[in-house]
């Protein structure tokens, strides 16, 4: 079974000059435990693809399946349930819930998915170097620390697919590399598939496979 299967995805946004097509028939597949880097120019539709895959935005046409379950063509509640239990999301910034501590944030999605394993969460916090920060609130963390919490929170829920949208885009090179190392290792350990959106060829090179998005379709990098 594939962790993530996207078939013939179409999406356009309305504008005053009529609809602007962004995705024009994108297909891709990702096996459990595999990692795929998605690159492309700014505005090429990488984030849009990720949002549709996560069920945050509806597609115009085409299909998305996560761990075998249909994400497209379903109602709000189903998509929310899939997001809770099957998908892990890491954005470039502002991932965390401001009113919860690091510990609260780390456990949140796992508890929401009814899959909370304190030992696993603690182990993740150790791995990510967050053990000393669990009592802090997000606003008292640096950008790199915040991203590590976001990665930990996503993995604590043991998702089948991790969707990461430039997770290291706001970080300096060394910190970014460290966070990405953790993400890759943890995903492999947990058997989660990783779809990584990035601008950096260097980071992309560290994934199992690479795809390039151009003019709304997948091209060779």
């Amino acid at each position: 079974m594939t962790a993530l299967a996207i078939t013939d995805l179409h999406k356009s946004f309305a504008s005053t000059e009529g609809p602007i097509p962004v995705l024009r028939g994108v297909s891709l597949e990702l096996a459990p435990g595999a990692s795929l880097a998605l690159t492309g120019e700014s505005g090429s539709g990488k984030s849009t693809l990720l949002h549709i895959a996560a069920g945050l935005e509806p597609a115009d046409r085409g299909e998305v399946r996560v761990a075998g379950a249909a994400m497209t063509g379903t109602d709000d509640d189903t998509r929310a349930r899939l997001r809770r239990g099957t998908v892990g999301l890491v954005f470039q910034q502002f991932n965390l819930i401001p009113s919860l501590t690091v510990a609260g944030n780390l456990a949140f999605q796992a508890r929401l998915a009814d899959r909370h394993d304190p030992d696993w969460t603690d182990a993740l916090a150790q791995r990510l170097g967050l053990a000393d920060l669990v009592a802090r609130y997000p606003e008292a963390l640096s950008g790199g620390q915040q991203q590590r919490v976001a990665v930990g929170r996503c993995l604590a829920a043991r998702p089948a697919v991790v969707l990461a949208d430039e997770p290291t885009g706001n970080l300096d090179e060394a910190t970014g590399d460290a966070v990405l190392d953790l993400l890759l290792e943890a995903c492999a350990e947990a058997g989660a598939a990783l779809l990584l959106v990035t601008h950096s060829p260097r980071l992309a090179a560290r994934c199992d496979a690479r795809l390039h998005l151009r003019a709304g379709v997948v091209a060779a990098p």
Partner: protein, 804 residues
């Protein structure tokens, strides 16, 4: 550059129309309620002033008889001796459909009016007009009420107090059926020299100095202080709405300010533009507020007038005049208020480093230090309130106590709520991550909502407090009426002769005829009324005594003692055992104190024999009748047949009680209106805060949405959170409200009216009020929640993309 900058500033409001609406609404509301209350106070005060200035009586010495009636012969004797005095006859009479005060004067000798209270009636005009037969002046409202009165031809004049007709003295004697009688003689300030002393000419008349304290104005001070306090509170709440709206608008435009300055706009120019923007908004809101305020005042004035009449018998018209000065003052308040509310934002703009990042979230949350400071302030004020409660004395101390208590409670609201939420949070943390988040989130949202929640707490406490006070009063009052109105019927004769005939006629037809005879006088330096009281079981068994010596009724009957009402006892500190001098009757021992609600003045009861001996001239036309209740209708019919008495002069117990209850309800008409208004203001404040916060709320909720919670669920949770906060606030408001009621009953009422009432609790009312509060909170939170439920994925996703 300037124009481009202005356009950039204004463009923000176009994108945030709700925030703009809240800013305008807050300021308009503040202006409206403040200036509305001002209009009410001004209108009422000018009515008192015109009542007193009508004859300039407030400044003049006068001559009065202990019996309340002066013979015209005394007037003639005084004028012959060279004294400059002017006669006045005052009494109540039925005119057309209304009962009015008839004020008879002599236009030729009436003293020129003191100018303090407006134009007054020009003397020549007055003389010329009143000189004619059967003419008089009355307020237009009185004219409407007495429509169909054939006895007198009235001309409208707004200088005459409502409910009064001003006529020539002969006319008054005719209307009041009191030929040759006068109420008092006004002594002109400048008298010829070498006059014989008054005591030689009219030894039976007392010279009385003017009260000097402005009479009605002083009596009604506490009422107006109440209104002003309410206006100020509403103004403050409105300003807080403005403060948060302006603060957020400035915070959210930081990036734009930064860009404008980077593009070369001087800071000074930017400041001027921001100030101009604020003032333009204030002007707009101020004008709207004035219109709203005038409307509110016009709407409330009938209630205020009814309350003032019920409480103090103060003549206040039910229609509002427009005063341009009032409008200017209101606009000034709006501008000043906007400056005060926006000052902090302007100051920050002035000191903002060009490259400071915007922090709307930090702006909406407060530090633990601020919370601690607030808690300390609350504790300090609570101590002040406690001190005032123990050692304070007087009306001002009473109001200071109220203010300190309410302010302490308001400041404590966020601290208490934080504590309560922490408790609840700990209890529900096990229930799941959403419950835990909800509690943590509510805790973090507190600073942004705390002002609105404080306003809600104050509104609820005021409602509970005033409601409890009125309810306690009503319960006591009903019990008191049952004691006080024991007689089955009351009958008033039109003349002394008729009264004599009535007494003879009633003698065989009733169980008892009890005199209700009284005279106006001055007791312990205050205007008061003395009654003659028969020795009868009606009084012995029922009279509502608060304190008495053992043989009170015997000593009263024997002419040794006097009973006084609570007002007089408290004001003059006269309790059983003390002595009271009644002018013209001598000194008596106070043997008992009785409760006497709904009457602002002092009162005393003498035994009937002592009374008639001291006041042989007192009118003896009113009587209370004891007879089997079922015989009352027959007696009433017989009385009308035998004497042709108008039905208004015969009243039965039920009618008397109904009348008293009607006066009671009228007295508190304004409190109901104000209660509804305070709750509405709080609801609007809550709505404004939620709408203002909803601008930055999306950023807090987007992560939760991304993690797998639907927008609908988040919206429902947001709504539930607001309602839960309102419920917790209601829990805090309850004890505050009861404390407020206790202060009103035990401190303010005693100072303002002279009576103290026992506190009674009305839990059913609290439940109903809490229901209203939750409904108001739901209404306030509904729109932001709906907008959240309907927000697009794009709007939520932008949270993760935009720099904040």
């Amino acid at each position: 550059m300037t124009r481009a900058a202005l356009r950039a500033l204004a463009a923000y409001w176009a994108r945030a129309p709700l925030q703009l609406a809240m800013l305008l609404l807050g300021l308009a509301l503040a202006t409206a309620l403040w200036s509305g209350v001002q209009a009410l106070n001004t209108e009422a005060r000018s009515a008192y002033a015109s009542a007193e200035a009508l004859l300039g009586e407030a400044d003049l010495d006068r001559l009065e008889a202990a019996s309340g009636r002066i013979d015209e012969a005394d007037h003639v004797a005084l004028r012959r001796a060279g004294w400059q005095v002017s006669p006045v006859l005052e009494g109540r009479a039925d005119l057309g459909a209304a009962r009015v005060t008839v004020l008879g004067i002599d236009p030729l000798t009436a003293p020129p009016r003191t100018g303090a209270a407006g134009p007054g009636l020009a003397a020549d005009d007055l003389g010329a007009f009143l000189g004619g037969q059967g003419r008089g002046f009355a307020h237009p409202e009185t004219l409407d009420a007495v429509v169909g009165a054939a006895q007198v031809d009235l001309r409208a004049d707004t200088n005459v107090p409502v409910g009064t007709v001003l006529v020539d003295i002969a006319q008054a004697q005719r209307l009041l059926d009191a030929p040759g009688a006068l109420s008092r003689l006004l002594i002109a300030p400048d008298q010829p020299t070498g006059l014989p002393p008054l005591a030689d000419i009219v030894p039976h008349l007392d010279r009385i100095a003017p009260a000097g304290d402005g009479g009605l104005a002083a009596l009604t001070d506490s009422f107006h202080l109440n209104l002003t306090a309410f206006g100020l509170l509403a103004f403050a709440v409105g300003l807080f709405i403005v403060h948060s709206a302006v603060g957020l608008a400035f915070e959210q435009r930081r990036a734009m300010f930064r860009t404008l300055r980077a593009l070369g706009l001087p800071l000074r120019r930017l400041m001027v533009l921001a100030l101009a923007e604020l003032m333009a908004l204030a002007l707009l809101a101020g004008l709207a507020g004035l219109a709203l305020g005038y409307w509110v005042a016009a709407l409330l004035l009938p209630d205020v007038a009814a309350s003032l009449r019920g409480l103090y018998g103060a003549p206040v018209p039910g229609a509002l005049r427009f005063d341009p000065l009032w409008a200017l003052a209101g606009l000034g308040m709006a501008l000043a208020g906007a400056l005060a509310a926006g000052g902090q934002s302007l100051w920050r703009l002035w000191h903002m480093p060009v490259l400071a990042p915007a922090q709307p979230r930090a702006w909406a949350t407060a530090s633990a230090a601020a919370m601690r400071a607030q808690g300390a302030g609350a504790a300090g004020l609570a101590v002040v309130a406690l001190g005032l409660g123990i050692w304070g004395d007087g009306l001002v101390a009473g109001f200071a106590l109220l203010a300190a208590m309410l302010l302490a409670a308001a400041l404590a609201v966020p601290v208490l709520l934080a504590g309560l939420i922490a408790l609840v949070g700990r209890a529900v943390a096990r229930a799941g991550p959403v419950a835990e988040w909800l509690a943590a989130d509510a805790r973090q949202q507190l600073p942004g909502l705390s002002l609105a929640l404080m306003a809600l707490m104050l509104a609820l406490a005021a409602n509970i407090g005033v409601g409890t006070m009125v309810g306690s009063f009503r319960a006591t009052f009903i019990g008191w009426l049952d004691q006080r109105l024991v007689a089955e019927a009351y009958v008033t004769a039109r003349t002394e002769d008729e009264a004599r005939a009535l007494r003879a006629w009633l003698e065989p037809r009733t169980d008892a005829i009890l005199p209700v005879w009284s005279v106006e006088t001055t007791l312990a330096g205050q205007p008061a009324r003395v009654f003659g009281t028969a020795d009868h079981a009606t009084y012995r068994d029922h009279w509502p005594l608060l304190q008495s010596s053992p043989d009170a009724w015997d000593r009263l009957a024997a002419g040794e003692g006097v009973l006084i009402n609570e007002q007089l006892a408290r004001r003059a500190d006269l309790w059983p055992g003390a002595a009271l001098t009644i002018p013209g009757a001598g000194a008596f021992d106070v043997v008992a104190v009785y409760s006497d609600y709904g009457n602002p003045r002092g009162q005393a009861m003498l035994g009937i024999d002592a009374f008639t001996a001291a006041f042989p001239d007192a009118p003896r036309r009113q009587h209370a009748l004891r007879l089997p209740p079922e015989d009352v209708p027959a007696l009433r019919a017989d009385l009308q047949d035998a004497f042709g008495l108008p039905s208004t002069l015969i009243s039965d117990q039920a009618a008397a009680k109904a009348l008293s209850m009607a006066i009671f309800e009228r007295t508190f008409a304004i409190t109901r209106a104000l209660n509804v208004l305070t709750l509405s203001v709080a609801a609007v404040a809550l709505f404004a805060s939620l709408v203002t916060l909803s601008g930055i709320r999306l950023a807090q909720l987007a992560p939760l949405w991304a993690l797998g919670m639907t927008r609908r669920r988040l919206a429902v949770l947001d709504l539930a959170r607001t309602v839960a906060l309102a419920a917790l606030t209601a829990v805090i408001a309850l004890p505050v409200g009861v404390a407020l009621a206790q202060v009103l009953l035990a401190v303010i009422n005693v100072q303002a009216f002279g009576w103290r009432l026992p506190l009674q609790l009305f839990p059913a009312d609290w439940l109903r009020l809490t229901g209203w509060a939750l409904l108001a909170a739901t209404a306030a939170a509904a729109l932001p929640a709906l907008r959240l439920a309907r927000s697009t994925p794009g709007a939520l996703l932008r949270v993760f993309a935009t720099a904040r």
